[in-house]
């Protein structure tokens, strides 16, 4: 009997949660702008994954006589860069590192910042005060400045770039997590769970997370667009990804010297950054209204 009752209870929760996500999905699909943005973003991710199959040429293979060939040259549909490498292939391959550098810091910061924020919000009291004051210090820096400060001190490199961007995004995510958790903690059913003797860990896992993860996640997705621009910006400054890797910000940096020779060729990597950033931005907006998160 006990087993049946348990499995029914489980079934009920599964059904309920699927109903919520189904309605979120339905609302999202009705938002044409968000669906388009989602398709573009998905396309970019697929392009990154299948780059070796899509790209017509090797992104690192240059040809001295083809240097700075204009857009539309035979065999080089989008021209060739300052070392005679196929621009189209480099743009396709560039999606790999560019998306990686833009998305991964937000994911790590979501995990770390979310954990810090939820813990501070749930525990409250002096733990909350101290945590939030420490984060306030990092928050006191404009995000671009902090990212540049940290990776400037650490030096160029993919890991250093990831690290500095992660540090930049932890405080804002933790702040949002803290404020959502604090508001949930005051609700009566949490009090009921506490009164029934459930441990803090169990209450957070079973009753708090389900209610706070959504808003925190939506907020985190809104940071991906910023992160893309910042990550490419670091490479643009000579931090982050180093040559000869294909990465859009770095490509923009090295092609900047060619701006008087092949101006529009030099601007191409920026189009990719813009496209990625705007599609993630609109995707996040759509997600927010579909999940009905108020900010």
């Amino acid at each position: 009997m006990a087993v049946t009752a348990d499995s029914i209870a489980q079934l009920a929760t599964v059904e309920k949660s699927r109903g919520y996500w189904r309605s979120v999905g339905a609302r999202f699909l009705r938002d044409k702008v968000a669906v388009c943005a989602g398709l573009v973003a998905a396309g970019l991710i697929l392009m990154a994954i299948f780059a070796p199959w899509i790209a017509p040429a090797d992104p690192l293979d240059g040809s001295m006589i083809k240097r700075l060939s204009p857009i539309g040259t035979e065999g080089y549909p989008l021209g060739a860069d300052e070392l005679g490498r196929d621009m189209l292939s480099r743009l396709i391959y560039g999606a790999r590192l560019s998306l990686f550098m833009g998305v991964v810091p937000v994911l790590i910061a979501f995990a770390i910042g979310g954990a810090i924020g939820v813990a501070a919000g749930y525990l409250g009291g002096w733990v909350n005060t101290i945590t939030m004051r420490v984060l306030d210090v990092l928050y006191a820096f404009p995000s671009v400045l902090l990212a540049i400060a940290i990776s400037g001190a650490l030096g160029a490199g993919i890991l250093n770039g990831l690290l500095s961007l992660t540090v930049v995004f932890i405080p804002p995510i933790a702040r949002v997590a803290e404020s959502v958790t604090t508001s949930v903690r005051k609700l009566e059913y949490i009090e009921a769970a506490q009164a029934s003797g459930a441990s803090s860990l169990r209450i957070v896992r079973d009753h708090v997370l389900g209610n706070v993860l959504g808003p925190i996640f939506v907020y985190a997705t809104s940071l991906i667009s910023v992160s893309m621009i910042l990550a490419a910006g670091l490479s643009f400054l000579g931090l982050g990804v180093s040559p000869p890797n294909a990465e859009w910000g770095l490509m923009l940096n090295t092609l900047r010297n060619a701006i008087y020779v092949q101006p529009w060729l030099a601007a191409l990597p920026g189009v990719m950054i813009f496209l990625t950033s705007i599609s993630f931005n609109m995707l996040s907006d759509g997600l927010r209204s579909a999940m009905d998160v108020k900010q």
């Binding site: 004051r133 820096f141 400045l145 400060a149 001190a153 910006g233 400054l237 950033s277």
Partner: protein, 317 residues
């Protein structure tokens, strides 16, 4: 009000200490010996010993931090590795140029963003609203350094209307508000103004739409107040929040100007930071970041105080 200002100032002190601690740590998280990273590679043994005595790298971290902080408060930020000049002088010269650029960009961005946002919020869900919303989404998603490059391509390379880089004949030290110089300001300022424009348009749109739905507006309308009169009330109510966003954005521009200044070789703090990174000039990096971050903290303080002065209800919050 005075007690609020005092509380707010007192609250800022630990933040400032924390910010300087982060800046202090920059030299120490940098790989390698801190002594090596603040000295030119060909430094003599005497210079090394001299620096060791000044900075005290053999002492404990708290002691080092206090000594460093003590010198920083007196305006000694160390010497640049690349030029050998005091970092404080370099930063001081550059800050003025950054302010010229950032303030101009803020004014342009706020005028346009405020206008777009206001019109969009006032005529909600009309085509103007959709256009303004689209512009603001583009404004926040565009990589501004790339936009700067595109501006250079269009207006300098193709049309040859405006100079691409630099700050005019006077160079970095002699700024004058005449056409000779101002033509160098146009492209970077417009590029930079796009950053706050989108955010301001979004904020103002939401504010105006929100205020128009409040009861006192229908009350005013019911009293027979004309649209222009309602408008004045809306502006009055939106002003404190708009001001707060404006202050914050100016601060972000001061810190975020580095990429745009690099594109346009504008001789401000961002350009200085770019050089510091390129030459791995850590004292210059540290000093510039410290000054910019402190600027930002103080600006935040001023914005908070001004906002509360305009809207005393905030004091309780």
């Amino acid at each position: 009000m005075i007690s609020f200002i005092l509380r707010r100032v007192v609250y800022t002190v630990p933040i400032m200490l924390g910010v300087s601690l982060v800046c202090f740590a920059l030299v120490h998280i940098s790989p390698g010996d801190p002594l090596v990273s603040i000295l030119p590679p060909d430094a003599s043994v005497e210079l090394q010993e001299q620096m060791m005595a000044i900075y005290g790298f053999d002492r404990s971290y708290p002691e080092q931090f206090l000594r460093w902080l003590g010198r920083a408060v007196q305006g000694d930020l160390g010497n640049s590795i690349a030029t050998g000049r005091p970092v404080a002088t370099e930063v001081f010269n550059a800050v003025g140029n950054t302010l010229i650029l950032a303030v101009t960009a803020t004014i342009i961005g706020f005028t346009l963003g405020g206008l777009f946002g206001f019109v969009a919020g006032y005529f909600r869900d009309s085509w103007i609203d959709k256009l303004a919303t689209a512009i603001s989404v583009i404004g926040v998603s565009v990589p501004h350094y790339w936009l700067g490059m595109v501006m250079v391509i269009i207006f300098s390379v193709e049309l040859r209307w405006l100079p691409a880089t630099g700050a005019g004949p006077g160079g970095s030290s002699q700024w004058v508000w005449d056409w000779e110089h101002m033509q160098y300001l146009i492209l970077p300022a417009i590029t930079m103004s796009v950053i706050p424009m989108g955010i301001v348009a979004r904020t103002v749109r939401a504010l105006v739409a929100d205020i128009l739905q409040q009861e006192f507006v229908s009350g005013l309308r019911a009293k027979g107040l004309l649209d222009r009169g309602v408008l004045a009330h809306v502006i009055k109510n939106a002003a404190p929040t708009a001001l707060a966003v404006m202050g914050l954005q100016l601060g972000y521009l001061l810190g975020g100007s580095i990429l745009i200044e690099t594109v346009f070789s504008w001789p401000g703090t961002g350009f200085l930071l770019g050089q510091a990174i390129f030459q791995r000039d850590l004292p210059l990096l540290q000093g510039t970041i410290l000054v910019l971050a402190m600027f930002f903290v103080i600006l935040n303080l001023l914005v908070d105080v001004a906002q509360t002065a305009l809207d005393p209800r905030l004091q309780r919050g």
